[in-house]
């Protein structure tokens, strides 16, 4: 079975927040973001002078913690590995919000229902890629099938960022040591 997941190229991400805003425009979330940019200190330079950024949303875990806690059974995992919330079934109890170890689920203040990244399921059904991937100016985000043997070399975690492993998050990190991009601002 497929398991789609995000591949984050750590060295490429600028922290420009294009992914956040494109997602917000696409899904019309006024108050909250489905996707967030995190910043980390550099592994080698721990003095805080250099930072890495990476973009994170729902990790579409292999064993999603949100799924069994939903009393309505509104959360399901599709055969391609995408975890989605059935809006028609969601009662807005908020149990999934507290159970997610990655803070990926938020309550939508307008609908009073749970909301999270669905990996642009509708766009993917039309054969398009996710809006965040298409909006990234430096191609720091990618969608991959993590069960594909070609994708086994990527890292499951990143230095300095505590991640809950019990749910088997479907996110992979790629840290390329050579070919670092540098940007200067006037």
């Amino acid at each position: 079975m497929k398991q789609l997941g995000f591949l984050v190229h750590i060295e490429k991400c600028l922290g420009c927040r294009s992914c956040e805003f494109s997602c917000k425009n696409e899904h019309g979330q006024e108050e909250s973001f489905r996707r967030n940019i995190h910043s980390l200190e550099d592994e080698e330079n721990k003095m805080g002078h250099s930072f890495h950024h990476f973009s994170m949303a729902c990790n579409h875990c292999e064993s999603p913690a949100c799924m069994p806690v939903c009393p309505e059974g509104a959360i399901k995992k599709k055969p391609n590995g995408i975890v989605i919330i059935d809006k028609a079934k969601c009662s807005g109890c908020g149990k999934c919000v507290t159970s997610c170890p990655f803070d990926a689920i938020k309550m939508n203040p307008f609908t009073a229902k749970a909301d999270k990244c669905d990996m642009c399921y509708d766009r993917q059904m039309q054969g398009k890629t996710t809006i965040c991937v298409s909006a990234c100016p430096v191609k720091a985000l990618e969608i991959i099938d993590i069960n594909d043997p070609m994708n086994t070399d990527y890292d499951k975690s990143i230095y300095g960022f505590e991640m809950k492993k019990i749910t088997n998050p479907s996110i992979r990190f790629h840290k390329k040591n050579d070919d670092i991009q540098h940007f200067w601002c006037r």
């Binding site: 599709k78 170890p101 505590e162 991640m163």
Partner: protein, 524 residues
């Protein structure tokens, strides 16, 4: 001169029904006549299919120049068993065709004789392939095998790639064949490129035909080599039937593959809450013979390679077969399948058990499975996690998650058990849903000072604390493990109480440290 066996390998006689006397298939004839008056050469007698003809058959068969009888016509007539027995005793074949024009039959036979005389009879055989394909499409594999058995006058065995009997076969009870198959399975016959191979054992010589489509090997046909078989047309008959059998097996393989992929998808949907209704679940389950009206219990088994042994290939199918046999021995039915590197076992239980009884029964069953699997696999460690039972089988996705949590978090228990139920993993169940940041914060606030002291002064306070909790607060056992006097331990515990600002006589303080130690294990 044509033999009757050659005649029946050519259309339209391929469709002929063999009524009896087939042991005389090698009888040859030079002329075809539709009366029995003044015969002086080996003759195939052509007779119209009527009741009076049938009654006269014994008389015709007794004539020494009659080599066989071909009955023609569209009538459906019953031939008494006694007449068939007479044909068998004379070893003179009696055939029946639907053709009604005797002149056209005579002409066809004369054409066949002519083709044989000029050495072009193989073109006739080549046309027989379409007959076998037609028979396969119109009837089934069993019909093709039965027809082959009749034509060859012996049992034709269809075997799969692993030399097991195919389901289309009538499985013989001869032990010699089974012994032969066992010895064949040990030899690399799959790579042979020849049409057939001769194999021998004590019971005789056998011909092993290879069923192959391109590079794909589909199976074998096995039959005993009878005297004269290699020089007559038996081999040709089988070789021309093989494309039909191979195409059937390939089609069967493709159907199996599609069926299996739908089954995998159904099971995935069941475990990940993708099914819409309970009715749909019950209906779909029926396709594979699963009764989802019964209560179920879900288990997840994980196999870890033992560190003492080098990594090797694990035969998951053999393990699943073993599990199935153990569950069947407990008079239960189960679905067993691999997913995400684990083996999932869904056991259908009796509906009249209370939840407590059901849990106990399933834990006992899981323990038995664990014991047997670990016993049979020296190089592997096996662990089983059980989820809770839910009233509806639509909730199996919850049970699946719980079983995985039990499997994952159970390893942080102080008393290590290989079979763990979600209800029994205690406080780790709550900790599984708390963010790592919060866990880290709690652990740092509770034990941070102690760890710092240990690092600075090279002390053993953390080791002492862990040993004390692992022995449930027993001073003597803890002291024995640490190789110190109980009074020394008491002194250390007093010091620990001061550093941690707790009282080990207070349950609340004990629990606070216990949780911090558990978090330490989880975060590690």
């Amino acid at each position: 001169m044509l033999t009757i066996q050659e005649l029946i390998s050519a259309p339209p006689f391929l469709y002929a029904e063999i009524m009896g006397g087939w042991k005389g298939k090698n009888r040859s004839f030079s002329i075809v006549q539709n009366h029995s008056i003044s015969l002086d050469e080996p003759t195939l007698l052509l007779l119209t299919k009527t009741q009076s003809t049938i009654m006269q058959l014994p008389e015709y068969l007794s004539n020494q120049d009659v080599q066989g009888i071909l009955l023609y016509g569209n009538e459906d007539l019953f031939i008494p068993t006694t007449i068939i027995e007479i044909a068998d005793s004379y070893k003179k074949p009696v055939l029946m065709v639907k053709e009604w024009n005797p002149e056209s039959i005579k002409q066809t036979i004369s054409d066949l004789e002519h083709l044989k005389s000029i050495g072009l009879f193989q073109y006739v055989w080549e046309r027989s392939t379409s007959y076998w394909l037609q028979l396969m499409n119109e009837q089934s594999l069993t019909a093709v095998l039965q027809r082959l058995c009749v034509l060859l006058g012996q049992n034709v065995l269809l075997l799969d790639e692993d030399f097991q009997f195919h389901t289309g076969n009538e499985v013989p009870s001869i032990s010699n064949v089974r012994v032969l198959l066992k010895s064949l399975s040990k030899q690399p016959y799959k790579n042979k490129k020849e049409a057939y191979t001769i194999v021998e054992n004590e019971s005789g010589r056998y011909l092993l035909f290879h069923l192959r489509s391109g590079e794909k090997h589909c199976g074998f046909i096995l039959l005993q080599e009878l005297p004269g078989m290699v020089i007559d047309i038996c081999i040709e008959q089988i070789i021309h039937a093989i494309p039909a059998i191979t195409s059937y097996l390939m089609k069967e393989d493709a159907v199996m593959l599609a069926h299996r992929s739908y089954k995998d998808l159904f099971l995935y949907n069941l475990l990940y809450n993708n099914l819409e209704s309970e009715h749909g679940l019950i209906q779909q389950g029926k396709q594979w013979g699963w009764d989802f009206t019964k209560p179920t219990q879900l288990m997840v088994m994980r196999l870890d390679t033992n560190t003492d042994f080098p990594k090797g290939n694990v035969d998951l199918d053999a393990i699943m077969r073993k599990i199935r046999s153990l569950i069947t021995a407990a008079f239960l039915q189960a679905i067993i399948f691999p997913i995400q590197g684990n083996i999932v076992i869904i056991v259908f239980d009796m509906p009249d058990h209370t939840p407590k009884v059901r849990k106990e029964r399933m834990v006992v069953l899981a323990n038995r499975i664990h014991k047997e699997i670990e016993h049979s696999l020296d190089t592997m460690e096996c662990q089983i996690g059980l989820g809770r039972h839910y009233p509806s089988n639509m909730q199996l996705f919850r049970s699946f998650y719980e079983a995985k949590v039990a499997l994952e978090l159970g390893k942080y228990e102080s008393n290590h058990r290989s079979v763990r139920h979600f209800e029994d993993i205690g406080i780790a169940r709550l900790l599984s849903n708390v963010h790592n940041d919060l866990l880290h914060e709690y652990y740092e606030a509770t034990l941070g000072e102690l760890i710092l002291l240990d690092e600075e002064n090279d002390d053993f306070y953390m080791v002492t604390l862990e040993a004390f909790y692992n022995h449930n607060g027993d001073i003597n056992q803890t002291a024995e493990q640490l190789y110190i006097h109980p009074n020394t331990l008491r002194k250390r515990l007093k010091k620990l109480e001061t550093i941690l600002n707790v009282d080990f006589n207070q349950m609340e303080d004990m629990l606070k440290i216990f949780v911090a130690l558990k978090i330490r294990k989880i975060l590690k």
